[in-house]
C-alpha cells in the first residue's frame, strides 16, 4: 500500500478540474430549464420548454447547418492540403526543417488578431482582392452573404493546414525505409508506393487529426467574432456565435444555456469517438 501511496497525488488536479467543469455544467443545465433572462433574477420553470423551442427554432437549425458548412470543408481541405504538402516536404527537398519550422506560425497566432487582420485583407479594396483582380480580373465582395462563410473557411484552412502538415510529415518520416525498398524491388510506381505503403500508416494520424480539428472548430468563437461577427445577418453564425447572440444580445439566458448544453453534448460524442480510437491505437502499439 505504501508503495503506491503517491497515487493520491492525482487528487488536487482532479478536484480542481472537476469543480471548475462540473459546477458550470450543472448550472447551465439547471438554467436551461428556466425561462431566464440575462441580468434578471426571477425566472419561471419551463421544464424542457427551451429544448422544445430549439427543435422548432429555424435560427437554431440554421446555425447548426452553418457550423457544419464551416467545419466539414475546413477540415477536409486542411487534411488534403496537409497531406499534399507533407508529401512534397518529404520528397527529398532542401530546407525541410526550415519550412516545417515556420509552418507553425498560423497555428499559434491569436485567433482574434487573425480575424481582425483578415477583415481588412477581405475588404473591397483589400490585398486579397488585389491578387484576385491581378489573376482573374475580378474582385470578390467577401463580406457579402454569398462569400462571408467561404472567407471564414479559407482563414480556418490557412490556420490549421500546418497542423496536418506536421503530424503527417512525422508519420511519413516514421515509415521504415525497407518498406519502400521492398516496394521498389517489386517495381511499384510512386503512386502505388503511396497507396499501399505510406497511406495505411498515415490513416490513423489522419483520423486523429480530423477529430481534434473537428472539436476545435466546433468551439471556435474569437476568429469569427472578430472577422465578421456572425454576419452579415446570420451568414457566419456558427453555434458558438449563436449561443453568444442568444444569451447576451437577446438576453435569453435559459434558451442560450439549452444551446450551450447541446454544443457540449455534440462535443462529448465526438470526444468519445476520439477516446475509442486512442485506445485502439494504444492497443496496437503495446
Amino acid at each position: 500500500m505504501r508503495k503506491f501511496g503517491f497515487s493520491i497525488w492525482i487528487a488536487p488536479a482532479l478536484v480542481v478540474v472537476s469543480l471548475l467543469a462540473l459546477y458550470p455544467l450543472f448550472w447551465a443545465g439547471y438554467k436551461s430549464l428556466f425561462d431566464a433572462k440575462f441580468g434578471f433574477p426571477e425566472a419561471e420553470f419551463v421544464g424542457l420548454g427551451n429544448y422544445i423551442r430549439l427543435i422548432n427554432s429555424q435560427a437554431f437549425w440554421t446555425s447548426l447547418k452553418t457550423t457544419i458548412l464551416f467545419i466539414v470543408p475546413s477540415i477536409l481541405f486542411q487534411a488534403a492540403l496537409g497531406l499534399m504538402i507533407a508529401l512534397l516536404l518529404n520528397s527529398g527537398i532542401k530546407g525541410k526543417s526550415f519550412f516545417s519550422g515556420f509552418f507553425i506560425v498560423p497555428m499559434v497566432m491569436m485567433d482574434t488578431m487573425v480575424g481582425l487582420t483578415w477583415r481588412l485583407y477581405y475588404s473591397q479594396q483589400g490585398i486579397y482582392n488585389y491578387f484576385l483582380e491581378l489573376i482573374f480580373g475580378k474582385p470578390i465582395i467577401w463580406h457579402s452573404a454569398s462569400w462571408a462563410l467561404t472567407g471564414i473557411v479559407i482563414a480556418e484552412i490557412w490556420r490549421w493546414t500546418p497542423f496536418f502538415i506536421l503530424i503527417l510529415l512525422a508519420g511519413l518520416q516514421a515509415v521504415p525505409r525497407e518498406l519502400y525498398d521492398a516496394a521498389d524491388v517489386d517495381g511499384a510506381s510512386s503512386f502505388q508506393k503511396f497507396r499501399y505503403v505510406s497511406f495505411p500508416l498515415l490513416k490513423t494520424l489522419l483520423v486523429i487529426g480530423l477529430i481534434l480539428r473537428f472539436v476545435d472548430a466546433m468551439k471556435l468563437f474569437g476568429m469569427i467574432f472578430a472577422m465578421f461577427g456572425g454576419g452579415p445577418g446570420n451568414v457566419t453564425e456558427t453555434l458558438p456565435i449563436h449561443i453568444y447572440r442568444t444569451t447576451l444580445l437577446s438576453r435569453n439566458l435559459g434558451l442560450g444555456m439549452a444551446q450551450a448544453i447541446i454544443l457540449i453534448v455534440l462535443i462529448l460524442i465526438t470526444g468519445i469517438f476520439f477516446i475509442r480510437l486512442l485506445k485502439r491505437v494504444k492497443g496496437v502499439q503495446e
Binding site: 503506491f4 488536487p12 471548475l20 482574434t112 487573425v114
Partner: protein, 272 residues
C-alpha cells in the same frame, strides 16, 4: 528525370510556403505603414517604414498595461497548471489503481468543453464573488483546460523515463516526492519547459473568457480588439502594430520549442 521532379517539388514547396507566410508578413509590413499607405490601392510594396503606429499604441492606447495583464495572467496560470498537473501525471504514469485509465480520459474529455458554453456561468459567479474583471479569476478558470492538457502532455514524458532509475533511488531511501523532484524533473526538463511554453501561449491567446469576464482592469491583449473599432472606422495602423506585438511571443516561443509542437497539438496522441 528524378532531378527535374525534385526541382519542381522544391519550387512548389517554396511557393506554397510563401502563400502561407503572406498573411503574417503582410500584417507586420502594414504595421510600419502610414494611414494612407495601409489603405492604398493598389497596395504599396516599397515605402519608408514608420514607427508611428507603435508610438500610438504604446502612448495613446496604453498597450503596455494590457501586455502586463496578459503576462501576469499567463505566467500565473502556467505555474499553477504545472504545479497541479505534474503530481497528477506522475500518479497516472506510475501509479496502479482502479479507474486510472478512466481518470486519464476524464481529463481528456474535460479539456474539450467549449468556453462559450460555460463562460456565462462564470460571469454570474464572478459578479457574486466580486471577482469580475480580476486577473485571478482568469488564472483560475483557465486551469479547467490547461491542467488536463498539461497532465496529458507531461504524462507521456514521465512514462518515457525508465522505471529502473526510480527503483534504484527508492531502494537508497529516497521518498517518492524526492524521486519526482530529483530524478524525474531533471530528465523531463526540456519537455516540461515545452509544456510550460504552450500553456503560456494558450493563456496568452485566450479570448472568449477574457472578453466576457473583464471590462477595464484585467483586460488582456486579445480582448482589446474592440478598442480599435471606433465611430471613425477601424484604426488599422495601430491595430496592425498591436497584432504584430501581440503575436510575437507565441511565434518566437513556439518556434524555439517546435520539436514539441506535434505532441502539444495532439496532447501526446501523436509523437513528434
Amino acid at each position: 528525370m528524378k532531378r527535374r521532379k525534385q526541382f519542381i517539388s522544391q519550387i512548389a514547396v517554396t511557393v506554397i510556403f510563401l502563400i502561407f507566410m503572406f498573411p503574417y508578413l503582410w500584417m507586420i509590413i502594414s504595421a510600419f505603414k502610414t494611414r494612407m499607405q495601409v489603405f492604398a490601392y493598389p497596395p504599396v510594396w516599397l515605402f519608408k517604414p514608420t514607427l508611428e503606429n507603435f508610438r500610438v499604441v504604446l502612448q495613446e492606447h496604453n498597450l503596455l498595461f494590457y501586455l502586463k495583464n496578459s503576462f501576469i495572467v499567463s505566467v500565473g496560470n502556467t505555474l499553477l497548471s504545472l504545479a497541479l498537473a505534474l503530481p497528477a501525471s506522475y500518479s497516472l504514469a506510475r501509479g496502479k489503481f482502479k479507474f486510472k485509465e478512466s481518470l486519464g480520459y476524464f481529463f481528456l474529455i474535460v479539456q474539450m468543453v467549449p468556453a462559450i458554453s460555460i463562460v456565462f456561468v462564470y460571469f454570474y459567479l464572478a459578479k457574486t464573488m466580486n471577482l469580475y474583471d480580476t486577473k485571478i479569476m482568469l488564472i483560475i478558470i483557465y486551469l479547467l483546460w490547461h491542467v488536463p492538457w498539461a497532465v496529458w502532455m507531461t504524462r507521456g514524458f514521465i512514462e518515457g523515463v525508465p522505471p529502473s532509475l526510480e527503483e534504484a533511488a527508492l531502494i537508497d531511501g529516497c521518498s517518492r516526492f524526492g524521486v519526482l523532484i530529483r530524478i524525474i524533473l531533471p530528465l523531463i526538463a526540456p519537455g516540461l519547459a515545452a509544456a510550460a511554453v504552450f500553456v503560456f501561449i494558450m493563456s496568452w491567446n485566450e479570448f472568449t473568457v477574457a472578453f466576457l469576464l473583464t471590462s477595464m482592469n484585467a483586460k488582456t491583449i486579445p480582448t482589446i480588439v474592440s478598442q480599435y473599432v471606433t465611430h471613425l472606422g477601424v484604426l488599422w495602423g495601430p491595430m496592425f502594430a498591436t497584432a504584430t506585438i501581440a503575436t510575437l511571443p507565441a511565434v518566437i516561443f513556439s518556434f524555439i520549442f517546435r520539436k514539441y509542437m506535434i505532441t502539444a497539438l495532439t496532447m501526446g496522441a501523436v509523437k513528434g
